[in-house]
């Protein structure tokens, strides 16, 4: 079977990104999954067991002192070197901020064909076919690459499979990274993750709050309901703009797209750009004071009411049931 390269992102603290399992599972459907990582010299060995457990049949480690100082360039060099050495049938990359840039630059270098934001992949007679969910899920689109190496970015949280574990063979090479045409990292500000809450992307349940919550202090109500339901916390753009929550919580057109079993919208009007990020949820619940709010057009259960009276009562009812 032909090699399928998977770009594995490593966090600033050396952890394998949570996008790795889905990418390796997708690669296993297309061929032999090869994990490609860029690390500081000597740091690759510690990743072997975990990547093997996630299904990497082979690991290609590109080592460079520039990892952590040059933005994305060492990662691009590692993937370029692997693409040159291993004659891959396809390259899979997460549709993340870094992943997209690596995929984009690799596509230009290899004159390959770039497919962005796939939600699934399959191989049909050796031809790689990607599925997309376009315009907030209003359309399902299939695409392929006409000529050249297919390079795909995969939407985070879209694929849930996991590949069977493998005992990977490791290749380590040293990378030459040209600092001249690279941006330089000055400082990394990753927050300490203190939450037990599920991550928004891929969560089975999501509770989102909008401008209707009124303040950062009162937004806590959204978190309380999320915790009672074991849900992730989301938000509208207006709530993010108002500073109630960080940008990473934004659901919608220009935020995260979610497709959970349950989506609860609190004090969100349901602008078309918000709906684009959540309307493929299995069940949608909305609570809004305004009976004409467009969110009710997509809600399976809508309550015209005040979130500050309805939600506390709901939380009490959930807790009473749990006891």
């Amino acid at each position: 079977m032909s090699n399928v390269l998977v770009f594995i992102e490593i966090s600033s603290t050396g952890k394998i990104s949570n996008t790795a399992p889905a990418l390796l599972a997708a690669a296993a459907k297309l061929g032999t999954p090869v994990a490609v990582v860029a690390t500081a010299p000597g740091a690759g060995a510690g990743l072997t067991d975990e990547l093997g457990a996630l299904g990497a049949a082979r690991i290609y480690v590109g080592e460079s002192d520039a990892v952590g100082t040059l933005l994305v360039s060492p990662q691009l060099e590692a993937l370029s070197a692997a693409a040159a050495a291993l004659e891959p049938a396809a390259v899979l990359v997460s549709n993340s901020v870094d992943g997209r840039e690596v995929a984009a630059r690799l596509a230009v270098r290899t004159r390959g064909g770039l497919i962005a934001d796939a939600v699934d992949v399959r191989s049909d007679d050796g031809k790689i076919i990607a599925t997309h969910s376009a315009f907030g899920g209003a359309y399902t689109v299939e695409s392929t690459v006409e000529a050249g190496l297919p390079i795909l970015t995969i939407r985070q949280g879209a694929i849930e499979d996991q590949a069977s574990p493998a005992a990977p063979e490791v290749t380590t090479v040293s990378l030459a990274v040209d600092a001249h045409n690279s941006a330089v990292i000055d400082e990394v500000n990753d927050p300490v993750v203190d939450s037990e809450r599920p991550e928004l992307r891929g969560a089975a349940k999501v509770v989102s709050g909008g401008r209707g919550l009124g303040s950062k202090e009162k937004f806590v109500l959204v978190e309380q309901l999320a915790d009672a339901l074991g849900a992730a916390v989301g938000a509208s753009r207006a709530a993010v703009d108002a500073g109630y929550v960080p940008q990473t919580s934004q659901v919608g057109q220009t935020g995260v797209t979610v497709s959970p079993q349950l989506y609860v919208a609190l004090g969100i009007s349901g602008a078309i750009q918000h709906r684009a990020g959540m309307q493929t949820a299995k069940t949608i619940v909305a609570i809004n004071k305004d009976a004409d709010a467009p969110i009710f057009d997509v809600a399976d259960f809508g309550i015209v009411g005040d979130v500050f009276t309805v939600v506390p009562q709901l939380i009490d009812a959930i807790e009473a049931r749990a006891n």
Partner: protein, 259 residues
């Protein structure tokens, strides 16, 4: 300083957006076509620098169908100095790769210091064209900036990450992209709209850029095979809270095995 801002015309997100079922290509005829909001923020970043640095030249560049002039005129009315529109029938069905190759060809000889783009369009959401342009030009790329600080020699800012942010810089010339957390775009005033009518808007073809359409065809391209519309959602039950809606909702969730 010469700053080029990349602009894309997209269907207005305020309306239902459509794909043509036969080709899977964007239906540009129904609904309004506008300059993508994110490009207006990119332009705003450039204009703010121009406001405080006399002699700065801001050019807007777009590849797209004939109707794209509307988005470019809007950018001129906001304060850009001139516009370049790449228009060629051979570009129908161009994917991100072709688009980047053509934009790079237009930028190559334009002696710019900085290219500013939006981090991702609202229609394709690919978010890859600016980085591809940078690679074609062999320049540093600083993508997804929540804020951008421009100086004579470099550009720096806060870059969005998956969990947090980081700060980074690149020396000029460079390509950057900005997020919707960056500068809120100004409105074009009446004077700006009147002045825009006299500002230069050049239309160039692939031949003008020295791009051979046959050579483009040798580059890998992604193509749509099928596009199908999902049935629209319908509204379910809607109740007015009369004091126990929270309890009714809990019952609904229990019935659906959601709690």
């Amino acid at each position: 300083m010469k700053i080029v801002v990349l602009v894309k015309q997209v269907p207005d997100t305020e309306w239902e957006r459509k794909l043509e079922p036969a080709t899977g290509l964007l239906d540009r005829l129904t609904g309004e076509n506008v300059a993508d909001e994110i490009n207006e923020r990119a332009l705003e970043v450039a204009l703010r620098y121009k406001d405080s640095h006399k002699g700065t030249e801001v050019v807007v560049l777009s590849m797209g169908p004939a109707s794209t002039t509307k988005a470019l005129r809007k950018a001129l009315s906001m304060g850009a100095d001139s516009a370049v529109h790449i228009l060629d029938d051979a570009l129908a069905g161009a994917d991100v790769g072709w688009t980047a190759e053509v934009l790079a060809a237009a930028l190559k000889d334009s002696s710019f210091d900085l290219v500013i783009a939006g981090n991702e369009s609202t229609d394709g959401r690919g978010g890859v064209v600016p980085a591809m342009v940078a690679e074609h030009l062999g320049l540093p790329f600083l993508g997804s900036l929540n804020s951008a600080e421009i100086s004579e020699q470099s550009v720096s800012g806060e870059r969005r990450g998956e969990v947090g942010t980081l700060t980074a810089h690149a020396s000029l010339p460079a390509v950057v992209s900005v997020t919707e957390r960056s500068a809120e775009a100004r409105f074009a005033n009446f004077k700006g709209i009147m002045m825009a009518k006299r500002k230069p808007l050049a239309t160039v073809s692939l031949r003008d850029l020295g791009v051979d359409p046959a050579a483009l065809a040798g580059t890998g391209r992604s193509v749509v095979m099928t596009a199908s519309q999902r049935p629209a959602r319908t509204a379910g039950k809607k109740i007015i809270d009369e004091g126990n809606a929270g309890i009714e909702l809990a019952e609904f969730l229990v019935a659906g095995r959601l709690i």
